[in-house]
Symmetry: C2
Subunit: 356 residues, 2 copies
């Protein structure tokens, strides 16, 4: 097991990475007497009993939600709160999010809001959640017209990234998680990007050592950026590489055509090609990025998408503000930058070419 | 106009107190281009046009909610968010809460949650909101089975306590606000308590100078306590004098029999009598407190309440935790203290006597 720390003063917390962590009650870091484990119908049969067993000796309640992004709503959030109140949970209770990003974001927002904030522990069971959503304290539910519009910054007290849980993850979801892993290389760490080029096959074959390294390095990078800029006033925005494009694509695909990571992969290519059009990187760098994404089993192009519709969607993204569109673009491999209001004509030309 | 500052580092904000503040656009302290004013059907006809006029030159939207505590729900919270998203509000928007505690708590929680936190300005139009709920950053909505169970700590960027708005406040609500004003004297400021004994008639007659002093001193006391303990890990709990009793009474009265301040007044007497039963204060001090509350037009006793039901309600209060009931009791006038698990027999005896 490896442990890294997200350094946020009195809100600092450990991320434990390795096999078989679920069963180690010491890792949960919770002194609370009352614990509610929130999970979903896919994950519950696989891992819920083990988490319940690890928490033996306390009042442990469980809540199994239906699976899917479409349940990441204010209504489901309400059912978590109903359960906490029905079970007479007090202020010193703790929630445990056992599942992927939907369970983590929803449970985290419930923990942020119940009695104005109680503890929670993240047990991410997807690669995407292990390297991204369970690190950094962003919690939220979706609004019918926009993702993650309703939420809070609320840090967990511990994250248990049990690499064994990836054995039950569908291949397509493993690839979606790899999109975010590759992102870390592109934005700040060219050597990590090169390591990924060498080890992509091992990662897709679930090699334990390779997985642990990729998760650890991803979490380290995210943890460091979050520690510098918890509330995304500046540098944290780098983590959104490919996401403004990606969120708009997801919406145009009704959140069914692409998984989040797949949309981010396509968005990363669009960001790279925009950077190239601005003369910041060369075609060869774009092609390396595209090739690694493809090697990870990810789509790199979207067909049948109207550039105007995509641009309109991007303008409605919550990263936009009065200064106009804010994009993360690439100065060099391992060196991304926040770009305000990139030239409209350049953007349109790139979209017209890439979405053809 | 007087201005005091709630000192919370980079979340510090001013509270402006005085007549005619609504119209002064400089006091709003908001640079946001998009503003949503949330108010209710009672307050809107009185003051909404003036606030809209003060904010001229920006995108100003208004949302008029039905009046009453029963609309302080997750559903109404959802309608505020719907409105923000329908109007295409961005991250640099600002909400304005124009009304009493319900509007303030609900709007504050919406501001805390929209895009994980945007600015908001409080314009409290009741005495209760001016001296209590608009200071300190507690925002929330009610759960059907418990008040303020779902919320966030989120500080406003400015509070405008316009004393002119109290001219349109029903007498009963003015008295309810005075319960919290008296509370500040009881918990930490005996000279202020004595000043209130001298000036209660002037306050009830809406004497501008007396009102401004009472509001200023109340806000100063609350601001200082909040600055010391923003998230209520210790001293901030003193502000809950009478509230654990009061919340249980409100629930037993179906939130109809008593206003919040009225229940707090009765709860303050119960806290005083419990303190007396423990030998901490004498009967004369209890009587001074009761007399001042009565002079403010407040009830000091509840009849027809079952002590067991009240105790059960108190145990479900969110101030309770695994260490059992936590009550604020009185060591001397102006010196309250947090008391863990007071003797059950003493509490029962006091309730049996006082609720007879």
């Amino acid at each position: 097991m490896e442990t890294i720390t997200v350094a946020l003063g009195d809100r600092s917390y450990p991320i434990h990475i390795g096999p078989g962590l679920l069963d180690d009650s010491n890792l949960y870091g919770a002194s609370a007497r009352q614990m509610l484990i929130v999970t979903n119908e896919i994950v519950a049969p696989l891992y819920l009993d083990r988490v319940v067993a690890a928490l033996r000796g306390r009042q442990v309640e469980t809540l199994v939600l239906p699976d899917g992004e479409r349940y990441k709503t204010l209504a489901t959030f309400g059912t978590v709160l109903d359960r906490l109140i029905d079970a007479n949970f007090h202020r010193d209770s703790c929630l445990v999010a056992l599942g992927g990003g939907v369970v983590g974001d929803l449970t985290g927002y419930a923990a942020a809001s119940f009695q104005r904030g109680v503890d929670f522990v993240q047990i991410p069971t997807t690669l995407l959640a292990q390297v991204d959503s369970s690190v950094g304290g962003k919690t939220a539910v979706n609004h019918p017209r926009a993702k993650n519009m309703i939420g809070a910054f609320h840090q967990p007290i511990a994250v248990l990234a049990d690499t064994d849980t990836l054995k039950t993850l569908p291949t397509r979801e493993l690839s979606a998680g790899l999109a975010e892993v590759i992102k870390y290389g592109v934005i700040v760490d060219a050597p990590f990007f090169a390591w990924l080029e060498q080890h992509m096959d091992a990662l897709r074959a679930l090699d334990g050592k390779a997985l642990a390294h990729a998760i650890r390095r991803s979490c380290e990078i995210k943890a460091q950026i979050v520690a510098e800029d918890e509330r995304e006033h500046g540098r944290r925005a780098l983590l959104n590489l490919g996401h403004t494009f990606g969120h708009a694509l997801e919406a145009l695909g009704n959140y069914e055509r692409w998984l989040h990571g797949e949309a981010v992969a396509i968005g990363t290519v669009l960001a790279a090609r925009t950077s190239q059009a601005l003369g910041w990187i060369d075609a060869a760098t774009c092609e390396r990025i595209e090739k690694l994404l493809a090697l990870a089993g990810l789509p790199t192009h979207a067909s049948g998408i109207d550039p105007d519709a995509l641009l309109a969607g991007m303008r409605g993204d919550k990263k936009a503000d009065k200064a106009g569109l804010k994009l993360i673009l690439i100065k060099a491999l391992g060196d991304a930058t926040v770009t305000r209001a990139p030239p409209e004509a350049t953007l349109r030309a790139v979209l017209a070419e890439q979405l053809a």
